[in-house]
Point group: C3
Chain length 260, copies 3
């Protein structure tokens, strides 16, 4: 059987919010060491990979590898019933289960909610994502990244991210005019969540669809910091750490300049 018990149920709520608008049905692959979810958006432009180690759970048992095809809209309805400090347990049978159980327990124990959700069949192979060397890594406040993407969406559909030694510039242009937001490298700031780190091997200058970056930044509640990794002509990686126990990574191909 598969059984995983999470003390801070709020984490599962945040993880689901971070993926459900991008991927409507997702395959949650559970093995002895971790739960992994991979999925592409319906236009096959963006990819999300969620990885949550067994250590994140205070109880984790997975006798045989099992893949749970989740309807994320249904799962979201269930998790809306959970308070952030509810304990959440996931349960499924070993052999091609048709259903999955979720049990929510209030902290005091006086309220228990259990849900049986029908699983969906999803045909998807897990993609191997090659480890790549990137030309630039930008580490910044997740909230600030979200704010920049939202603000620039008022001006255009795309953002140009250009990175030089000491700063990163986000630019967008449309009928309203031109907008440029520049962040300076400031690693010495006391509060990490206000610092911006630009780690650069060579300058990059790439353009991305803001619609996806806005979807990615739904993961902001998971981590105070986000890391953008860029290389010329390679997909952007937007990574949020899940404490010490995993991560959510989003991949997005750059827009080809002639397209614009």
């Amino acid at each position: 059987m598969f059984e995983a018990r999470l003390q801070q149920g709020g984490l599962l709520k945040k993880i689901l919010e971070a993926v459900r608008e991008l991927v409507s049905d997702g395959l949650w692959d559970c093995d002895g060491s971790a739960i992994t979810l991979q999925g592409m958006d319906s236009s096959h432009v963006a990819l999300v990979e969620m990885y949550l180690r067994a250590e994140a759970f205070d109880h984790y048992r997975c006798d045989r590898n099992v893949s749970l095809g989740m309807n994320h809209a249904h799962l979201s309805k269930i998790l809306k019933c959970a308070n952030n400090d509810d304990i959440i347990t996931l349960k499924a049978a070993d052999q091609d289960p048709d259903t999955c159980s979720l049990i929510l327990e209030s902290k005091g124990g006086e309220k228990t909610s259990d849900f049986v959700v029908n699983l969906v069949r999803i045909d998807a192979d897990q993609l191997g994502i090659p480890e790549t060397e990137y030309s630039a890594h930008i580490k910044m406040s997740a909230g600030e990244f979200q704010r920049i993407c939202r603000d620039l969406s008022q001006f255009g559909d795309a953002v140009q991210i250009s990175c030089s030694k000491q700063e990163v510039k986000f630019s967008s242009t449309g009928e309203t005019g031109a907008a440029n937001i520049t962040l300076s490298h400031s690693a010495t700031v006391d509060k990490e969540e206000e610092s911006v780190t630009v780690d650069l091997k060579e300058p990059v200058d790439l353009t991305f669809a803001l619609r996806f970056l806005n979807l990615f930044s739904k993961a902001s509640p998971i981590s105070e910091m986000v890391t953008l990794s860029l290389s010329q002509d390679a997909p952007l990686v937007v990574e949020y750490k899940i404490g010490d126990s995993g991560h959510i990574r989003y991949f997005l191909a750059p827009k080809i300049q002639e397209d614009e």
Copy 2:
């Protein structure tokens, strides 16, 4: 003449919010000892009874019984102009009045708002509701009851309430899957508003339309606790106390199982 002056105008706002979506036009019966409002929803499935003793008012005078036919939407517009700590006075003439006056006074006295509202004609006899013995009484947090009804509405149109010695279970099923929320009797909890009391003569198992329970729970701001009284094949009673001065009671017939 009829004149009733309420120090905490906010109470009248909460009472109106608790009835106005269920009953659009209501007959407010005023006599020497209390104001009573009875009404059914337009489909005649649910009944509400509000009872507010003269003692709730710091001034109350009712020379002759008078029935005020109120358009609750109009009354709501007026009460939206009131702050919670405004003093509200209701005034009407004795003999078949066509209008009713509401006077709102700010605490400091520098602002006075008066409204004249046209009364509506409502033909309704006050129903005598027989006192009944119930098989089960459940006393619980009003906010928790509201939350459960709202959460289960995501899964189905109806909730099955089943009550055994030490717990009460709320269940709902739909295309999303099955949901069960169980509360355990926990009368020893320090904070009354977190306790759940199950007082049971014999087990009950009844199904109700969630749409109405959601309307009933609009009364949650009136009282921290709500009491559900159930008997097999009898209407459910959902009661909110108005301090020591009255109550709002909702009555709802169970769904017949064959209907489902």
Copy 3:
């Protein structure tokens, strides 16, 4: 060149919110001593005049008078990117500029956003508004004025303002009934923002369209107090001070009684 640098960028956001629903495109006239904006609503019933002295800015330079035709919707998009404590700099060339620059700097200096916005051509002469003697001045809380206009909008399209020696009455009538809100002169109150001052030469009794008063009260965040100046058969003036450095004044012709 023209360059004006405002330490508290939030002020510019509030000023724009106070005018943009009334005037969609506005001519910001800049000279050596101040920025002035005048505009009428599209139906030419209401007029707004904003006046902001050079002293409001911590740096202000205007070599030649310049008029900036601003699309307020575009300007609003830019200012939505600003935090209230961002420093905002406006820049334009001297000679009939086609564009205007806005630079937003975060307090710590690690984030700089610059925007280039296309100017629009507006043909409008600045009106000379004659200084008039008014029969009545009412000074009251800006928030209270906003609340009264909003509350009365539920009852009718127009408000009758009648002013006698010690009080001012706002009245509105519609199918819901009649509503009267009366404020008493209370200049001795400790907190200025709760006081109401009625300074009366002769009684006035005038009717105005609530739609415009609701638009005027969008300026409430700019000042705790608002002053209404009234004379029989003359336009109402609704004035909000911008600290010690300027004001926003709205002018509205009364409704002619036969029209109602």
